[in-house]
Symmetry: C2
Subunit: 241 residues, 2 copies
């Protein structure tokens, strides 16, 4: 399984993904689920993936092929597309098409091969936008009312986001919020695992302004996790019913 989350805030966007994948129950591996497409200063597009690894890898590979194609056009390359909406449409169409191809091959075994994605980006002169793309290729967009999107095992880590994330949350608090949301998920669901990929895209930078891989045993993450546990235990013990 997977947990990925993206926040769309006044100051910028914050993205976090885990890296655990499994084929069946026992074939567990580590794969990056965060992909960056960047023309620094002109546009940045970050894609987070959840679901069938063969679908997400093939989708990302086709997006890269379309970018590198000598005949690339604004209708085929996400680095040439005129708007973020058009970027989301290209990615949605590619995802749905790959899924159909792969499910066609798997029909005999009645296995489905669905995947979903979070697409976050900005091009120079445009607004920051963040989309959740469904397996069928349609999508929804983060807004002021709902400034975060999640894919994969999203329920364990939703309560903390519901409580603390607002459009005016600072980028520092936003990083804390997504890391604590992931921490709750890691503790409650063994199918989500370290290392983590964290990225920050500041408003109007049109590039990834901070990117960090957090390995298992990272002392800062462990200290934050322990401090949060202590704060919860402490808060719990002070409540009277």
């Amino acid at each position: 399984m997977t947990y990925c989350v993206g926040l769309l805030l006044n100051e910028g966007m914050v993205l976090l993904s885990d890296t655990r994948t499994n084929a069946g129950l026992d074939n567990i591996a580590t794969y990056r689920k965060m992909f960056v497409f960047e023309n620094s200063g002109e546009r940045v597009i970050t894609v987070l993936t959840a679901g069938s690894l063969s679908v997400t890898q093939t989708t990302v590979a086709r997006l890269r092929e379309a970018i590198d194609d000598l005949d690339a056009t604004p209708a085929t390359s996400i680095l040439l597309a005129p708007t973020m909406l058009k970027v989301a449409e290209i990615i949605g169409a590619t995802l749905a098409s790959v899924r159909q191809d792969i499910e066609g091959k798997m029909n005999a075994s009645k296995i489905t091969a669905a995947a979903s994605m979070i697409v976050a980006g900005q091009r120079v002169g445009g607004a920051m936008r963040m989309f959740l793309i469904y397996p069928e290729g349609n999508f929804i967009e983060a807004t002021e009312d709902t400034p975060f999107l999640q894919i994969g095992e999203h329920k364990y880590g939703k309560p903390i986001l519901d409580r603390v994330v607002r459009p005016d949350t600072s980028l520092a608090d936003a990083q804390k919020a997504v890391l604590l949301s992931m921490d709750s998920t890691l503790r409650s669901n063994l199918s989500v695992g370290m290392p983590l990929d964290l990225a920050v895209i500041e408003r109007d930078a049109c590039r990834v302004t901070m990117r960090r891989r957090i390995e298992a045993g990272d002392p800062d993450f462990a200290a934050m996790s322990e401090a949060w546990s202590a704060a919860l235990r402490d808060g719990f013990s002070r409540i009277r019913i």
Copy 2:
């Protein structure tokens, strides 16, 4: 939807259920999901239900019929069954049978009618036991390693239980833990709703020792919820990354 949770602790058992049901998206109503079968001082059995309302209501009705039957035997009545394991087997068999009956009627419309239950109880001279009964009638049991069971929308409220519930948790702390677990679920999922039913069964009492309905707007619950929010915000603001 539903959220029900049961804790099996050294000092006793604590059970909590919501009351929201819906048929489709717009037909929302309030139904009790906690049922008590008691022969005070001799045995107590509490059943929490999740899933298709027609299945859970019919299952509970059949269990009551079997108890009231003049020809009731230890093999048919949960108030006569010799052990809690046998009680779980009777309830599991009744649940699976009702489900088959109802799904038989619904075959034409390809709708499933699954339900699951938490069964918690003790008879005099026996141990406290708690089971999660699956729609197929099989079940698992709470143990020292996993001293809580959940049905319905269980993921939002699991992180708090994972952090604070141990077999030696006091009954007072246990009530706090299930209420905070429910509070997180209520905030993150609109399909779970007040009022709540809370019950405590102290070890070896063989009866429900405390039972309380918590209505929407209950001042104690609201104060606890607000105190928890404040503790989380406070803990969050003190963490450095």
